[in-house]
């Protein structure tokens, strides 16, 4: 896994550079940015995040579990309290709701971790401390023969620093 990383100070410069690189068809492009910016999101046209699926499934599972547990246990120990039905679904709705939220949220987080591939034990190549501070980074994964052009393009669009990584 080798490629070129370019460090930018300005947002629009980054945008231009990515556009140029896309024309160049040099290889996979990834962008590092201190804060999410819609421009960058739009340039790299990915599918929408699938985290919502985890949320949906988690929520449904939680709700079901939240009904099943109390009803099962009420039938296990059929003791009448206050002349109420032994398994009474109305109060159990609250349990169900809370478990829906709980398991749903945890599933969402799990979804984030899996889709965004965290936690990471080590940093990937091409990352630079500046990217979490104020600078934008463009990572191009490209074979050696393309590296010259990529470097050129990045410099051209105002990269303050361009370096190869492997």
């Amino acid at each position: 896994m080798q490629g070129i990383v370019g460090v930018f100070r300005e947002l629009d410069a980054t945008v231009d550079a990515v556009h140029a690189l896309k024309k160049l068809r040099a290889g996979n492009i990834d962008i590092y940015t201190p804060a999410p910016r819609h421009e960058l999101e739009h340039i790299l046209t990915h599918r929408a995040s699938i985290v919502r699926l985890y949320t949906l499934i988690g929520g449904l599972a939680g709700a079901t579990f939240g009904y099943w547990i109390p009803i099962w246990i009420s039938d296990y120990w059929p003791l009448v309290v206050g002349g109420k039905p032994v398994p009474s679904w109305v109060p159990y709705t609250i349990i169900s709701f809370e478990l829906m939220v709980l398991i749903g949220s945890l599933a969402t987080v799990a979804g984030l971790f899996i889709t965004a591939r965290i936690p990471r034990i080590t940093m990937t190549v091409g990352y630079d401390e500046r990217f979490s501070n104020a600078n934008f980074g463009v990572w191009v994964e490209c074979p050696p023969d393309k590296q010259a052009d990529v470097t050129e393009t990045l410099k051209q669009h105002g990269a303050t620093e361009v370096r190869g990584e492997r």
Binding site: D75, W77, P78, L79, V80, V81, G82, G83, K84, V86
Partner: protein, 1014 residues
């Protein structure tokens, strides 16, 4: 203790049944208990006992002079409960609070462990029986030798039966005069008057035969006479509803008896004679009115009613200088009105009070001591130092007696002053008999081996006599039991038969000794002529009697039936007077007479005449154990020693007093919240008129409750939805509840039962015997003894601190509500026992997060102690507020709040778990008795029979107001009573709780004029 099988996890929930204070004590008695890891068998197994199965020994109660029959419930060598003996003609199975508390006297932690002797340094120190008896024998010899035996003195706490005769025989053998039989509570004046009028000391009072009862200060429901039979008769009378007698109470203070009256005529103390004269036509109404501060019209109406009603019953029970004269007038009046023979039955006389020495005699004896004429004093049971007015200075008089012997079991004020203490057995440990009525012998037998190293006095005397060659021949019997059997009419066979039932027929041996020469007592100065601005009334406390009950925590924590105050003395003062003096409840008042002064908090009270203050007698002990010493004040300190010249009865109401506000304040230790119902229909009542209308269906009953309440048609189905469904009473919109055990078709058939209770408020007199019965049966801790307080700079350390915080544990409590009287006029008192209602739709159940409380299929609202985590949510949600929480480790010996110090724990009921710290508890409808009955029925291969058993409160109730049983089975009495037209549920209309307790409305009898108008 390495071999304790319970793992620490279980050990931590230490609310164990504390059977016996530790293994040693248990081992001493024998058989198994759960606390000890050893199983200690008997050495030789007693034939008639089965481990963990109760034996009931019929015996006689000795807490007061009446001599009721009791059953001593004994298991594995321990008597742990007293119940009334149903076969006994006097109390017919009922028993008052004092009688039930006898067990706490038996196991009292402050009892003498053995004989005590005064040593050189003048302190009482333990000694051996041999040494003690040797010393006494030597002293007796010395007295005989000196020839002064004739002036020796023996004071004995009065008890009917053979013992007085035995004692006099013994004394005679030593050449000593007959003993003095002391009973500070006995109404000597009335006894003397009765002897004069009827020839008997206490005729049977047939309340139920009367149509009108007029009581002039006679508190026949408190401590006047034999209160249990009187209460039974009175309740039976009231149970006749429309035909029941109207009850008018005349007196300066509205006692518990007064609170049960339909009308209270508040008169000045000392004016009772004038009123009686007016009523009987001897005196003029106007004089009576002026003397008594009662409107003429009222007396007029009463006189008219009295003359117009047949048969009436007039009683008098004042303790004043003219008491006997008054009693004679009243007896005469009864004769005139034809009461004698119908409501006053001399031929069914109660003989318990025969032979009581008058207070004047006792006083004369004390004077003799003071004069140094008494060489030897022997005291058994009596406590004159406490019970006689302080200024008589009995203590000083005792100092003049060279040698004083006490046979008291307890370190009371008198015993502490004696030179030799030979502790007597408790009544439960001793043999004896009583003669409560003519031709009725009530036998007394021990329920268990002695708890401490004590000896029955009679046996001690026999031992002494045998040691004395001169008189040994007179006492052949090896011990008192043999002596009894020898004298018993019919001999040992009859005696054995009597032991089974508890009563036999015949007359006990009479005392051979001649009565002492009558003394001429010092007449009391008429109360009007004494100095002071308020009349002072001193009356015996309902629970503590003459003070002998003060060392029993049950009785100390027993709220006074009228004022609901416990662990404290108080001064009752009238509302208007209080306003005038700027006194509020809790302000400490100083009550000063020529003899001295006492200080106690004021209790502002509607039920006392405006010129009067009243202080209960029985508290203010200076010794007598941890529960009594230092609690309250003794009004005896301020009384003069005046007597009724005719009868020699002590005049308790003999002086005025100066009442001043000290400015200090102490909170009143009371269980009372608001004394008004605020129209919530908790204690409901009907007038006779309304009852008639109700019966005739003329008028839909008037119910005192809030707007928007429906009728009471659910009453037949007071059954819970489940139980009702089980019997198809309710069509099943609740089929979904028919799960498992709750289905009527379930193999266990539990849902076919509905344990329920009815409380007849027409019968209930508010005596609170049920409260003590519940304490005894259910191991309820007392929480307000001084040592149970948390002593920190932040929490008050006074006695009753826990009750000030409302932490009393009375599973059943008597609520006393006032009706009317805001204008200072006459008012009504309503008593309602409040206990867990075992609701069908119990609000407490669904809120418990751990199933610690739930509804059992047979209709109980169950509390599972070992499941409870103590969120106390159930109590918040209980509209009746009948759930009680263990704020401290009352059941843990290691904790300062331990409620059963050494040997009191022997009283604990082995069938009931002792609850631990942090656990909720409440009335269980005596579920242990239900289970026991079910087990018994199963063992005998039958179903539980209707009315086969009942709860502890119902069993004890001397008014027979409580009925318990299966409301779903019409063969049970309760099922019929539950359908009574007077029945109602508390709060059912507001909360739809389906309680299992049905209250039957009280029936009031307004004055004729009033009722005609109604």
């Amino acid at each position: 203790m390495s071999e304790n099988p319970t793992p620490s996890g279980v050990r931590r929930r230490e609310f164990l049944k504390i059977l016996g204070a530790g293994g040693v004590a248990t081992a001493a008695i024998g058989c198994s208990s759960d606390r000890v890891e050893k199983l200690i068998p008997y050495l030789n197994h007693p034939d008639e006992t089965v481990p963990m199965v109760s034996n009931y020994y019929a015996s006689t109660c000795r807490e007061c002079s009446a001599g009721c029959g009791v059953l001593l419930e004994t298991r594995d060598g321990r008597t742990f409960k007293l119940e009334g003996n149903p076969d006994h003609p006097l109390n017919r199975g009922a028993l008052c609070a004092r009688g039930q508390a006898a067990v706490q006297g038996l196991y009292n932690p402050d009892r003498y462990r053995g004989p005590m002797m005064r040593n050189a340094s003048g302190r009482l120190v333990p000694t051996t029986w041999d040494a003690a008896l040797k010393l006494l024998a030597q002293k007796l010899g010395a007295v005989q030798g000196s020839g002064r035996a004739g002036s020796a003195l023996f004071l004995n706490r009065h008890e009917s039966g053979s013992f007085p005769a035995f004692l006099d025989e013994w004394l005679a053998a030593y050449g000593m005069p007959a003993h003095l039989s002391v009973d500070p509570l006995a109404d000597n004046a009335v006894i003397a008057a009765n002897r004069q009028s009827y020839g008997v000391s206490w005729p049977w009072l047939a309340f139920s035969a009367a149509r009108l009862i007029v009581s002039i200060g006679a508190d026949f429901l408190d401590a006047w006479g034999a209160n249990v039979p009187q209460q039974l008769e009175f309740a039976d009378a009231r149970a006749r509803l429309a035909d029941a007698p109207r009850f008018v109470y005349v007196g300066p203070r509205r006692s518990l008896t007064g609170c049960n009256a339909d009308q209270w005529i508040a008169c000045r103390p000392g004016s009772e004679l004038a009123i009686a004269n007016a009523l009987s036509g001897r005196g003029s109404l106007d004089d009576a009115a002026t003397a008594s501060d009662v409107p003429v019209a009222t007396l007029q109406a009463l006189k008219a009613e009295l003359t117009g009603t047949r048969p009436p019953l007039v009683l008098s029970g004042v303790a004043a200088g003219d008491a006997m004269e008054l009693a004679l007038v009243v007896n005469e009046l009864n004769k005139q009105l034809g009461a004698v023979g119908t409501t006053v039955l001399p031929d069914r006389a109660i003989t318990s009070f025969d032979g009581i020495a008058t207070d004047a005699d006792v006083n004369a004896a004390i004077d003799a001591m003071r004069a140094g004429q008494v060489p030897l004093l022997m005291i058994r049971g009596a406590n004159p130092v406490f019970t006689t007015p302080r200024y008589v200075a009995v203590a000083d008089a005792l100092k003049k007696v060279p040698f004083k012997v006490s046979f008291s079991s307890y370190p009371d004020e008198t015993a502490e002053l004696c030179d030799l203490v030979l502790p007597d057995h408790h009544a439960i440990e001793s043999w004896g008999d009583a003669q409560p009525m003519a031709n009725v012998i009530s036998v007394q037998q021990p329920g268990m081996a002695p708890v401490y190293d004590t000896r029955q006095t009679a046996d001690v005397l026999i031992t002494l006599a045998k040691a004395n060659p001169g008189i040994a021949s007179k006492f052949a019997a090896p011990n008192y039991m043999r002596w009894l059997i020898d004298r018993y009419p019919g001999g040992s066979t009859a005696f054995t038969l009597a032991l089974e039932k508890g009563v036999g027929t015949g007359a006990v041996a009479a005392s051979p000794a001649p009565r002492r020469p009558a003394v001429t007592p010092k007449a009391a100065t008429p109360i009007g002529q004494t100095a002071g601005d308020m009349y002072l009334v001193v009356y015996p406390s309902a629970a503590l009697g003459d003070g002998s009950g003060a060392n029993k925590p049950w009785l100390q924590e027993f709220p006074d039936p009228v004022t609901k105050i416990c662990w404290q003395s108080w001064v009752e003062i009238n509302q208007q007077t209080a306003v005038k003096l700027g006194v509020d409840t809790g302000d400490i008042l100083r009550v000063e007479t020529a003899q001295g002064a006492v200080e106690a908090p004021a209790y502002v009270f509607m039920g006392i005449h405006k010129d009067t203050v009243a202080i209960p007698f029985g508290l203010g002990h200076t010794a007598y154990g941890r529960y009594a010493a230092g609690i309250g004040v003794n009004p005896g300190d301020v009384l003069p020693a005046g007597f009724d010249a005719k009868s020699g009865a002590f005049a308790w109401t003999a002086t005025k007093a100066t009442v001043t506000k000290t400015g200090a304040y102490t909170p009143i230790v009371t269980t009372e919240g608001s004394a008004r119902q605020h129209g919530r229909g908790i204690a409901q009542a009907l007038t006779v008129q309304e009852l008639a209308d109700l019966a005739a269906g003329r008028e839909k009953e008037k119910v005192e409750a809030m707007p928007g309440m429906p009728n009471t048609e659910y009453l037949p189905g007071l059954r819970s939805p489940m139980a009702a469904d089980a019997q198809g009473v309710v069509s099943s919109d609740i089929k979904h509840k028919e799960q498992g055990m709750y289905s009527p078709d379930h193999w266990s058939g539990m849902a076919k039962r509905r344990w329920a209770m009815t409380v007849d408020l027409a019968r209930c007199t508010g005596c609170q015997a049920c409260v003590t019965a519940c304490y005894a049966e259910n191991n309820i801790p007392t929480v307000a003894a001084p040592y149970q307080e948390v002593h920190t700079a932040f929490l008050h350390g006074v006695a009753g601190g826990n009750i000030l915080k409302g932490r009393e544990m009375n599973w059943i409590r008597l609520e006393r509500y006032w009706e009317g009287g805001e204008d200072g006029g006459d008012f009504e008192a309503r008593f309602v026992p409040m206990l867990c209602q075992h609701c069908g739709n119990a609000p407490c159940e669904p809120v418990c997060p751990v199933y610690a409380t739930y509804h059992s299929p047979d209709g109980l609202n169950v509390q599972v102690y070992n499941r409870c985590v103590g969120t106390r949510y159930c109590s918040n949600n209980c509209p009746y507020k009948v759930r009680y929480f263990n704020w401290f480790g009352y059941g843990e010996p290691a904790r300062p709040q331990y409620a059963w110090p050494e040997r009191l724990s022997w009283q604990l009921n082995p069938d009931v778990t002792v609850r631990g710290k942090g656990v909720m508890e409440k009335c269980s409808f005596c579920v242990q008795r239900i289970r026991e009955a079910e087990h018994r029925a199963k063992a005998e291969g039958r179903a539980v029979r209707p009315d086969e058993f009942t709860t502890s409160c119902a069993q004890a109730c001397p008014s027979r107001a409580i009925t318990f049983g299966d409301a779903a089975d019409n063969d049970w009495t309760v099922a019929k009573l539950a359908l009574d037209q007077r029945g109602y549920h508390v709060f059912q209309e507001q909360l739809n709780t389906f309680p299992a307790v049905v209250y039957l409305k009280k029936v009031n009898h307004p004055a004729p004029a009033a009722s005609a108008g109604a």
